[in-house]
Symmetry: C2
Subunit: 310 residues, 2 copies
């Protein structure tokens, strides 16, 4: 089941208290595509400038990533410059240079339209609406967003939320969007907008899954001795999540089972954990299904306990 992603591709300059990298492959769509292509074919829609390093294109071509929808425009690729604080959880964006991204409008190639899984990575809600108007209703649409759009494009964001199945939000974003102090009340409000699931990201503490059917699931994170760079962890999470589902068969009603959705969240956490172990997508490059399976088995061991007591 092929996966369509629309989002940003960037060149990131990232400084942590311990190291610094310059102009490495970044952007939500880059992390997502690289992650999801570990599982299945990915159809990428994004824009890069004429300065975009050929080596990244070559790398993607070596994976099941379709680049037909990747626009290459005269000009500079989107740049993002950020600095992490000592806790490695919070960061300051020092500079954002939009470059060719400023005039970006997603165009979905004909070959992509049959994609059954759609990830609307974190871009302007109005561009996400442009995507939705170009594709027939996919089997499952997952939406990511950020504080900026909650503050500046709330109305369009609301329109997008009403048209997707699953929303990814951090705890802070749930509070900001819903104006509820309690995550549970906030999520209830979001589910009331027609979502099937809300996944609340808790950084290094993991993720909570809430279903409109009452499902609640708290997924363990894979424990990391050392975090090198958490950039892209949320996008890699989405890549693992949809990547896992792309290999599963939905039930006759077209919906995935709750067990599959839970498993997908665990895969998301696993891929997110790998990403944090190096800068950019470096840790995903050589990753195999065996590496993923090994962490999966460890997470079972780390989080399961006797189903019955006494």
């Amino acid at each position: 089941m092929s996966i369509l992603v629309v989002g940003s591709v960037a060149l990131d300059t990232v400084e942590t208290p311990f190291a610094r990298v310059e102009e490495v492959l970044g952007g939500a769509a880059s992390y997502f595509s690289t992650a999801a292509s570990l599982y299945h074919q990915v159809n990428l829609v994004a824009v890069v400038g004429s300065d975009f390093p050929r080596e990244y294109l070559d790398f993607w071509r070596s994976r099941p990533i379709n680049l037909e929808g990747l626009q290459v425009k005269e000009g500079r690729t989107f740049r993002w410059i950020a600095q992490y604080h000592m806790d490695m959880n919070t960061r300051d964006t020092l500079d954002t240079q939009l470059g060719v991204y400023a005039g970006f409008h997603p165009t979905i190639p004909d070959d992509y339209r049959a994609s059954e899984l759609l990830f609307l990575a974190n871009i302007q809600p109005e561009l996400q609406l442009e995507v939705l108007s170009q594709v027939p209703k996919p089997r499952l649409t997952v939406l990511d967003t950020m504080e900026l759009w909650i503050m500046t494009a709330r109305q369009q964001l609301t329109e997008v939320i009403r048209r997707v199945d699953i929303l990814l939000m951090s705890e802070e974003e749930v509070r900001q969007y819903t104006n509820q102090a309690s995550i549970f009340s906030g999520v209830r409000q979001l589910l009331g907008m027609g979502l099937k699931y809300v996944i609340v990201k808790q950084g290094s503490y993991g993720a909570l899954l809430f279903g409109a059917d009452g499902t609640y699931f708290t997924a363990p994170t894979y424990p990391l001795e050392e975090v090198i760079d958490p950039t892209g962890a949320g996008d890699a999470f989405a890549g693992g999540f949809l990547g896992y589902l792309s290999n599963r068969e939905p039930a006759v009603d077209g919906c995935y089972s709750v067990d599959d959705i839970k498993c997908a969240v665990v895969h998301g956490n696993i891929i997110g954990s790998f990403v944090c172990e190096d800068f950019s997508i470096a840790r995903l490059r050589g990753l195999t299904m065996e590496d993923i399976a090994s962490r999966y088995q460890k997470l079972v061991q780390y989080s399961h306990f006797d189903r019955h007591w006494q």
Copy 2:
């Protein structure tokens, strides 16, 4: 298997952004005893003043709580006054009035000496050492502490840590005591001091269990719609933890199985969740094993996922 606890009994005045209570039953030993007595006989050692309300003594007498070691001294009971911030996770201690607690020295009654499980609740490390000198080596000793002792009584605290089996610490306390930014490095240092297990408390995010044998376990928290007052959650956690173990048989080597320890952590989280649903010990009063079993089954459902995939 009876449980000995030594710690504080206090009258708490607590203000949250939503409510306020005055001079209600508080103190680590109060929360612990009430919680652990849901499972088994508890032997309490603490001090109260002549003003200590009789109703609390009557309540404890209605439970399997032995009060022989509870000293009643002429004077005022320990008072603690605190105010919670909007996030309900952080608080300011506004006042501490030691009263009769100032001259407290624990005396372990003869009848208590056969207690096989010992909880050294959060009191001065030198008093914890006094306890250890009065009891033959129990089967299992669990230690709680706080930032104040890490800063002001590090040497005695270190001596206590070397003589116990399990240490409870928050993430912040692990960092403070070990001077390690990484929890994993900090815990390794602590386990190197001879502990069998370290349990790292993460507030509303749950608890991590680390074993000297390499065990790692991340326990789910029971999701609460609303937190009324988190005071005592850590002590109630310890009560659920040791309470559960008090009904289990250790293996022939005298040690509990890892599965039992994991289960005990889950019980700790469950009892901790109940405590947060009301002020003081109010929510624990009418609690039954059926209530606990119901949350246990829900936590299985909320945190388990397919052991195998593909």
